[in-house]
Symmetry: C2
Subunit: 420 residues, 2 copies
């Protein structure tokens, strides 16, 4: 299969998506949910088509000598496709985020005002070589009445295209027009860049992936972006921290799933606490194979620590490495987070309520923790049902984003001839 | 007074604002309200200082031969300054938009979750030569716990600077650090452009003014923007429109305040309605000095109409001129709005409930009206208490924005050692 710039026309696709989004807006929630359930069935039915295409991507991946973790994320199976289908069925069950009347009132002149949630319109999804996102994102978009344009990583292009073809075939048997799901079948960067600036046709861009991908979208887009996910999260162990809580939280936040964005990347530790509890800390670090990159003070206390440089404070290791910084007080801890944090999730461990209160008030991040692991910043863990991603921006949506993040509002005014 | 690039350092100002925003965050709402009331008193007390500076701007304006309307907006008086002060007092009375718990729940493991509103941090306000915005915007920012960086139009620079100096003096007698209000005392475009890209220090940019100003901000900013205000609003008079309602709404939306963004700029009229009611319409247009720019069909029906070109359909006249387009049906009307509308306010006049329902569902705009004037898209008219502007974007805030648009959220998690 040869994909070149000449056989994709992103603008035409975006125009089709916009048109389809208008048709989606007048469907009932039942019609949208039925379509999702049908897509789930079709994915399970046609799984072999998808696995054949996936094999091509895997073969290319083996040639390119990708890491085992990368190949694992790329690799599909009958069971994984069944999981995708189950995901769609779960989304179908969720409450409809559109058509919700957020507030309504009547003016003195009798004009009725309703503030109601409506779909955003067209979502542009830019993601890495993870075929599961193709299904997930489509499910969330259609559930919330939006059309979607998918641009996945080139190394999964065959799998993604097969998934979309199967879904298109499925949509033909539903009320949702298949043009509501557009797939950019190109590995050409220009195709993606076109998507970034089509303000007329695309209502929002959602980049899902590593920091570089997100940065590229933010810098080049004029279409509004929902930024997700980079997490340089800190655990601050205060002078008054309980030893057991501190160590449990640190180990959990660092090692439970080191590659996710809510994992801890830096331990900030009060010097007095460190002096008193170094033995317990050192044992825990050793038992859990945590490699410390420490500042000068830490190097003196923790054996086998390597020196931390400027890049360590800013680094998302996504491994069991951790940067450790010793501080004199809460103020220094907050200042360090202010300088290096990514406004994702930040935790303080302390029995001092006043210190906790100050930390929660002053640290600028989506999620602030007192005596708990940063790992809870997650739509699933918090009971959101579905998660679009974790927003690290302040406008529109912050923190774990559920379906409501894919909606906007309209003010509907019903009158009998009112004028001002 | 000579202002050159060399004597302003926008980055240093932004850093000061960020620092001050942290201090603001720990003040109580009472302390912030007291500061607003004190600023009101100080403005009234020192009005002469402001009037002296204003005289310089007026003199420059007269030299540059500005329009009467422009000079009127620029011109201050003791009474106008008293109005500014009253505005601050009114804002002080409003409900605090921060510290509101939007939702809270407890996970099975006992972790307490609270989603609470907090200030955005630092607001960059870019506006035209309207000294009232200097006071208004400062009041709204401080009320909501934000620091603000003001960049007003060059032609009001002396007035704005005097207002800020008076407010700074006032703030010294309050708990709010005066660094929370920064004024860019430069007419240099580069100074403004610097502000557009300081993502680290500035949390949001709010452009307030005409389309060109807003466009310049959107295109050059990497800091998130709250887009406000351009309104190319349409009144669609359907086949089944009541004559009296249609004419009252049209005249009101066009002539009540032609220069504001919720005024109507285009009448879309069903050909059958026009054929039946041309006499009444022509009389109303004449009585109200409304100049019609019509399509070919309209030119045949309405005397003294001038031909409308492509630019008329897209034009915000902000005068008593109106573009008039005749259509065959609702679908054509919606398509016209889709092509030329700015997603601000759109109205249908009809007694046909089904047509109204379709219009409200399919037209993509912040405010949709059935049988009422578009003039109600206004924070004041809708009872919002204060209005930051009218958002024509879909993310974060859409339509008239009250104080909540100047906040974001934090998830606060309180635990007893919970891990995943």
């Amino acid at each position: 299969m040869t994909l070149t710039k000449s056989n994709v026309n992103v603008e035409a696709q975006a125009i089709e998506a916009k048109k389809a989004s208008k048709q989606l807006m007048v469907l009932s929630k039942e019609e949208r949910n039925e379509a999702l359930l049908h897509l789930a069935d079709v994915l399970e039915r046609d799984y072999e088509t998808i696995l054949e295409a996936n094999e091509k991507d895997l073969e290319n991946g083996r040639k390119k000598d990708f890491t085992e973790a990368f190949m694992d994320r790329l690799s599909l199976s009958k069971e994984r496709i069944a999981d995708f289908a189950q995901g769609l069925r779960d989304v179908a069950k969720l409450e409809d985020p559109t058509g919700q009347v957020l507030s309504d009132w009547t003016l003195e002149n009798g004009l009725q005002v309703e503030k109601v949630t409506v779909p955003l319109g067209v979502i542009g999804m830019i993601y890495e070589a993870r075929p599961n996102v193709t299904v997930d994102a489509t499910g969330l978009a259609l559930k919330s009445g939006n059309a979607i344009i998918l641009k996945g990583g080139s190394n999964a292009i065959n799998s993604n295209q097969a998934i979309v073809e199967v879904m298109h075939k499925g949509l033909e048997e539903t009320k949702i027009p298949k043009e509501a799901v557009q797939f950019i079948a190109s590995t050409d960067r220009e195709a993606t860049n076109q998507l970034f600036t089509m303000k007329e046709h695309v209502d929002v861009l959602i980049p899902r992936g590593g920091g570089k991908l997100i940065q590229a979208v933010v810098e080049n887009a004029t279409v509004p972006v929902l930024e997700t996910g980079v997490g340089n999260c800190h655990i601050y162990v205060d002078k008054a921290a309980d030893v057991e809580k501190a160590i449990n939280i640190l180990v959990n936040a660092k090692t439970d799933r080191p590659a996710v964005c809510n994992a801890a990347e830096t331990l900030i530790v009060h010097k007095e606490w460190l002096a008193e509890n170094s033995t317990a800390l050192i044992t825990a670090l050793k038992e859990n194979d945590i490699q410390v990159h420490g500042d000068d003070h830490v190097l003196e206390v923790i054996p086998n620590a390597v020196p931390a440089g400027e890049e360590d404070w800013a680094n998302e290791y996504l491994s069991t490495d951790i940067a450790v910084k010793a501080v004199d007080d809460l103020t220094d801890a907050i200042a360090h987070i202010e300088t290096y944090g990514t406004k994702h999730s930040e935790a303080i461990v302390t029995e001092d309520e006043k210190a906790a209160k100050t930390f929660l008030a002053l640290v600028d991040a989506a999620a602030l923790y007192h005596n708990a692991s940063t790992r809870f910043t997650d739509g699933g863990a918090l009971g959101f049902g579905a998660e679009i991603g974790i927003s690290t921006q302040k406008l529109h949506a912050r923190g774990p984003m559920g379906l409501p993040a894919l909606t906007t509002v309209k003010f509907l005014m019903k009158g009998t001839g009112q004028i001002r």
